[in-house]
Every structure is written in C-alpha cells, then in structure tokens.
Amino acid sequence: MEAKAIVVNHEKCTGCRRCELVCSVFHDGVSNPSKSRIKVEKWEWEGLYIPMTCRQCVDAPCLNVCPVKAIYRDEAEGRVHVDHDICIGCRSCVAVCPFGAMNFNPVEKKVFKCDLCHGDPQCVRFCDMKAVDFITPSRESLNKKRDAALKISEARKLGATIQYEGL
C-alpha cells in the first residue's frame, strides 16, 4: 500500500504556528518551537507563510550521507528514521538536507526530525486549514489536477483566454 506523506499547501497557511506548538508538546511535553520538527517560514510584509518539514525523501540525502548508518527507511510507517543508539551526532545529515528538515538539539546533542507521529501527525490533526495534510503522493497529484482544472474551468466561465507561454 502506498505510504502517506505530509503535504504542504502553503497558500492555505494562516501562519498561526499551531503545528510548531503541538509538535513540541507531543514529542517533548513542552511548548517550544525550537524543538518542533515543523517550522513556518514567514515573509510577514507580504503575508506569505510556508510550513517546512521533512519530505521523507525516496532517495534521502540524510540517509545516504550518514557515516554510521544510523538513518534508515522505515517502510511500515513510510518514514526516514534516526536510530539514536547508533547516531554519533556528526550532523552531516543536517548539512545535506535540502529542506532544513533535519534539526539538532544542542542541549541533548541529538539530531531530530519528523517521525510522522506513528501515523497520526499532530500538525495535520490540528491544522483546520489543511495547510499541512497527510495523504498519499498519488492523492496529492490528483488533488492538484482537480484544483488546476477548477481554475481553468472558472477562467473559461469568465471568458478568459489562457496563454500557455513557452509550451
């Protein structure tokens, strides 16, 4: 069965950072965004907010770079996971992640990343806007097709001409 993944629709994000709160409460029992696996990046002066979290990459740079093989693919839960018993804290994974999704806790001296909350990601559960969602990648592309089609449909209703520049 196709594994679900966290999908970000930033245009739905209101920038409230509830995802950061519930992530740190669920994992660490504290309110502390610096311990959250997800972070909302903001451009306040234009009202733009983009939640950033781990994509659980198919060809994961963090997994590939780890010199002690502490990072492995957990197929059952559809995630890339860190085994802290093996991890030596070299932070190579932090350096190579293209999304900044691998974090380092300077107090506990451990890397940490999104573990999908064992199949029920709290960021998704608490985001009423569905700016972060937990669906299969196939469903994501189907949704995107539908959304794009809706825009074309609406544009047609308005009698607009769609210009396919460069195609």
């Binding site: 994000c13 950072r17 504290v30 309110s31």
Partner: protein, 655 residues
C-alpha cells in the same frame, strides 16, 4: 514550566536590571497577564506621577497560558499610567510577541526611569540587555522591526514597538507588534517614547513545560472545536471583524459625524463583503486569512492599498497591510462621516505605521470636525484644511499632522480630547464623547443601557473590551441568560432579554468584567469566550485548561475571585490617581450627550432613544453594591480584606 517564568525590572535611568521569580502565592492571587500587571503597576509607578516622567512604569505582560495549549495563548498586555487619561492605561495585542517572551523565559518586563538616549531592550533565553537604538529611532513600526532583526541576525525576533507617534509623544500612541497587532487604548507607546524606549525585542528557545501534555493536547482539540464551531467565529474567520459593521450600522448602533447621528448612510463600499472582495482581488489567487499564535479562528484579512487619487497623494499605493478591523471602519468612516474604501484602508495603514490608536485618532479628528462645523474651529485654526464631515482627504491629512505634531492643530489634538478642549476653549468640551478622558469607540450605546453602563465603568476609560455584555444584543431567552450569568457564582436577581431595558444589566456588566479580566490574565482571546458568542468557553473550561497546561488546581469560582481581585487592584489604582465617580473628566459617568441627545436614525428600538440618567445612576449604584464597593465606588474595607489587599499600599512590592 509555566510557573517558572520570571519578571525583569529594568530601570532605564540607572541601567539596572533585576530578574525576579514570581512567588507561587502571587501567582495564585493574580495568575499573570493583566491581573499581575495591575499589581506590578500599582507597586512600581509612583503615586500621582506625571505619566510622561521617569516615575511612570510601562509593563509588558504575557498571560499564564501564553504559548500553551489553550486555543490561542497569544495575547500581550501592556500597562502604564495612561498619558491620555492620567488613570489606568492598559491594552492588549495579539500576534506572536507573548509566546516569544515566554520562550525567552519571561512573563513580565517592567520598565521604569528614562534612558539618556534611544534604547531598546533585548530579551533572550533568560537574559535581558539594554541596547542602543540609534539605528531604529525614527523608523516606522514595521521598518523598525525588520531593522532590529537584521541587526540581531535573527528573522524570528518578535517585537513590541513604539512607532513615530510614540516618539512624538502623541498621548494615545500604541505599542505595536508585527504588521498590525495594536496595543490600543493604553497610551503605552507614548510612555515608551517618553522613556526613549523604542522596543522590546524577544527571542527564546526555552521550554515551557506542559503539566499534563497528552491531556492538554486532547482537551485543546475539543476546546478549539467549541470555539471554531460558533457561527460568529466562522463568520469572523472569513470576513474578519468588519462583519460586525454589517449588523450594527444597519441597526443604528454606530456613531457618525462624531455623535450627530447613529448610522452611516450610502456606505456600500465599506460593507464587509466589499472589503473582502477587494482584499482577495488585491492579494491575488493565494489570498487567505491570517491570525495570531495557535489560533484556528484566523480573523484577520490582508490587503493592498488600491491605486486611487488619495492613495497616490499620500504615496501608499500597493502597500501591504492587514485588517482593517471593525474599529477602523468606525474611526475612518463612521465617525468622520466618510464612505470610501480607500480612506478606510489608508487610515488603517497609517495608524499601523505610526503606531497610534485608531479609535482615539478617529474620534479626535471627528470631534474636531464637529467643532469646525459649529464654527468653534475655523480654517485659520486648521491651516486651511476643510474639516467638514465626509472630507476623506482631510481625515488622512489630519492623521499625519497629529502623528507628526507638525501643525498647530495637529499638535493640540495629539494631546488628547480633554487637554485639547482646554486649549480650544469655548464649549468644545461638551462635544467630546469620552469617559474618563478617553474617547469612545465608534459604537453608539444610547439604545443599549447595558453597553452604556460598561463604557462608564471600564477601568481604562470608555471602552468595550473591559466589561461589554455584547450578547445582550442577541435577545437570548432568560433561561439561557440565567445559565450563563449564574455561574460560577449564584445570581437570582432579575434578567431581561430586552436590550433597551435597565433591569438585570448591572449584574451582566459585573459578570463580563470578571470574565474579561480572567481572559486577560490567561492571555487568550476575547473572541474565545462569552463576548460575541454565548456558547464559547468561560470559567468552567478555564479551570480545566489551567490544570492540564499549568498544573494549577483552581475551581471556576477560584478563577472568578482572582479576576475580581485583579479588577479591584485596577480600581484602587484609578482611585489613587484621582478617579471620582461623578467627575466629568475622570469619573464613572457617561458624556452628557448620552442623556440629552436622542438617536436620530436606526431601527424602531433605537430611534429616539437616550440613556435615562436616573436609571443609569441606579444601575451604577447596583454595580457598586454587587462588587462590594461603597456608594462612591470605593472598595469597602471588608471587600479589600476579603481579597487580601489590605496591605497593598504599605507592603513592599512582592516582585
């Protein structure tokens, strides 16, 4: 944990910084936020001080649930002796500052004294520094925030800022945060300006331990559903607070042309649906609402200023801002009698950038317009500005002149209504719609005795967010009202579903006063309690949310008593600073026009209405009785003792 956050007491004259814990018994007396701030202001400001002197204090406070699992623990309270009124100045803003302050290890920053040159205070992970603000002084609200982030090399710094209006000592200057979070109605920005304090910048990475994390998460999920399932919040989440205008203006509850009328006509442009349409169009396909920390109501719209002659004249075409709120509709349209969307959006943007109270500046300009219409002010006084009602350009121009204090009239009006009336003379004072020296928001309460009583009794001056029983307008069945108003303390007196009635209203105002104080102590939002919706959480739910998050075991009645104590400290502060119940400047009495001028417009239950003075005084007397105050509104010795405040004056500050 929540209880280990500290208080920093900063003396800008000496540069001394004291960091103190909050003793548990003080927590149990005042919780945090506005309640504890009232205690700190009482103890850390010099009695009878000039609000602009170093003897005044300005206090930045997070609520005890700030940044926690409590739907939206986002609110910051700023308290000071208000330069506008000489009484309690207290305001509340949303956004992200309070949680950041708590992650930095602090719940309260008390600032006293005066710096020799412009400074800002940087609070980070348990440390407090006073830093040079020479690169920030003179900058607008947003410019200053982006500049400090650049300077500190951290885009996640959150700020509470004094804008140019505060630097120029406009007496109703706000403290601002982010794009538009405004600590209105406090004069806090002016106090900051008088201390050469540009901002508090906060950045934190410290844990706030949740007492029972999994239970807190689960409870919060249900709590949020209770809040977001209310129709009023769903509407607010799409149209923002302007939706209120649609109801109140059509009914005749908005004061227009200062106080001449109570309904704005021919104003389709500023109806909520039209504002929403422009917001979407101006932002484009990625448009959505925004909001405060953790909040799923997201009541804040975004917009860019349209390309109009007025916007071109003032150089603000295409500028981004958020809102506008219901109050800006009143301040820039209802009160001055203007009907254009661009005036509303530009006015809203300017107050956000200058850091000034939209309600006070709108009311002040509208009052000046009425004086101009009556010939009390002439074009000689206005430097040729045609201050007639409905002159959009004049309103915008006066916003600039007041905030910059660069014309004679702008400079006078920046002093606030009462001081300006002394300078303008004639009978200008009688046109001023104020209580305790603060002008009223744009709502008209002549048809709603409960709301009028709230205005007169609000601790910070004419205001709706201290005790307004807004649900009184919903004509709720008496059994429903009984269920709300008989908990957590018994009440078996009269209640009436009729908003034009006087009976039962004093108790409603008492109840809401404690309800809103409790919300402000928790640091959550009034839209998440019994303010605009009857089904929203209150004391019962807070008892649980406090237990799961903080670990404090307090019954609903305990929270009520703590809120009552907070309100009593605010009252004692006002009495200390000269409040007397019938004083036309500093009293708990409506502006005379409420009693003498009938509403000229509106629905049948509004038109022709005035407030009956005798009945009003009876309501006030009953309110005093319910609150354990004597006939002059002063807490009786028994009440003072009951709330453990008998040593308030004598004891050294416990923090």
């Amino acid at each position: 944990m929540s209880l280990d956050r500290k208080v920093a007491i900063v003396d800008l004259t000496t540069g001394k910084i004291d960091i103190k814990p909050i003793p548990l018994e003080v927590r149990k007396q005042f919780l945090g936020g506005r309640g504890l701030a009232a205690y700190l202001l009482y103890k850390h400001s010099k009695p009878g001080c000039d609000p602009l002197s170093p003897d005044n204090a300005v206090i930045f406070s997070a609520g005890i649930l700030g940044g926690m699992c409590a739907s939206a623990g986002a609110r910051t309270d700023v308290m000071t002796k208000n330069p506008l009124t000489g009484l309690l100045g207290s305001g509340n803003f949303g956004g992200f500052f309070a949680p950041e302050l708590r992650w930095a290890g602090f719940d309260h920053i008390v600032v006293k004294g005066k710096a020799a040159k412009p400074v800002y205070i940087f609070v980070h992970d348990g440390e407090v520094e006073i830093k040079d603000a020479k690169n920030l002084w003179g900058k607008s609200v947003t410019e200053a925030q982006w500049a400090v982030r650049e300077e500190l090399g951290d885009p996640d710094v959150k700020c509470a800022v004094c804008g140019p209006a505060g630097e120029n000592l406009v007496r109703y200057a706000n403290v601002m945060s982010g794009i538009k979070n405004a600590n209105g109605r406090s004069g806090g920005g002016c106090t900051m300006g008088s201390k050469n304090l540009k901002m508090i910048a906060a950045r934190g990475t410290m844990d706030i331990k949740i007492a029972h994390p999994m239970e807190a998460l689960e409870f919060d999920k249900r709590y949020i559903e209770q809040i977001t399932s209310a129709k009023v919040n769903q509407t607010m989440g799409t149209l923002g607070t302007p939706f209120i205008w649609g109801a109140t203006n059509s009914w005749g509850g908005v004061r227009t042309n200062n106080f001449e009328y109570n309904q704005l006509t021919y104003c389709d442009e500023i109806e909520p649906e039209n504002i929403d349409e422009w917001s979407k169009k101006s932002i484009g396909s990625e448009y959505n609402m925004t909001g405060c920390f953790g909040c799923q109501v997201h009541c804040r719209a975004k917009y860019k200023i349209p390309d109009t002659p007025l916007a071109r004249k003032w150089g603000v075409v295409g500028n981004y801002d958020e809102g506008p709120e219901y109050t800006s509709q009143g301040a820039f349209c209802g009160e001055p009698g203007c009907t254009h969307l661009d005036t509303l959006l530009i006015g809203n943007h300017l107050v956000d950038q200058y850091g000034v109270d939209n309600l006070e500046i709108g009311s002040t300009i509208s009052w000046a317009m009425e004086l101009y219409e009556h010939g009390i002010l002439t074009s000689k006084d206005t430097d040729g500005i045609d201050l007639r009602f409905g002159n959009d350009d004049a309103v915008i121009e006066m916003v600039h002149h007041i905030c910059k204090r660069d014309t004679k009239l702008g400079d006078i009006l920046a002093e606030g209504g009462i001081k300006a009336s002394e300078k303008i003379g004639k009978d200008s004072f009688k046109y001023l719609i104020h209580m305790k020296g603060m002008q009223n928001l744009h709502s008209d309460e002549r048809a709603t005795p409960a709301l009028a009583l709230n205005l007169a009794l609000a601790s910070r001056g004419s205001d709706h967010l201290r005790s307004r029983p807004a649900i009184d307008l919903y004509h709720l069945p008496v059994p429903v009202m009984r269920a709300i108003y008989s908990s957590p303390v018994a009440y078996d007196g009269p209640l009436s579903s009729d908003h034009t009635e006087y009976i039962g209203k004093p108790w409603q105002v008492v109840w809401h006063e404690n309800c809103y104080m409790a919300v402000d102590m928790l640091g959550t939002c009034k839209y998440h309690t019994t303010f605009l919706g009857a089904t929203l959480p209150n004391f019962e739910d807070w008892s649980k949310v406090l237990y799961y998050n903080v670990g404090l075991e307090l019954s609903p009645k305990d929270i009520w008593d703590i809120a009552e104590r907070g309100n009593m400290v605010e009252r004692l502060f006002n009495i200390r600073e000269g409040m007397k119940k019938d004083d036309p400047y500093k009293g708990e009495i409506l502006a005379e026009r409420y009693f003498t001028e009938p509403c000229k417009r509106g629905a049948p239950d509004v038109i022709g209405k005035t407030i009956d003075k005798n009945k009003f005084l009876e309501m006030r007397a009953l309110f005093y009785k319910y609150k354990g105050l004597d006939e002059n509104g002063v807490p009786t010795p028994e009440s003072v003792k009951k709330y453990g405040l008998e040593n308030l004056d004598k004891e050294p500050s416990r923090i």
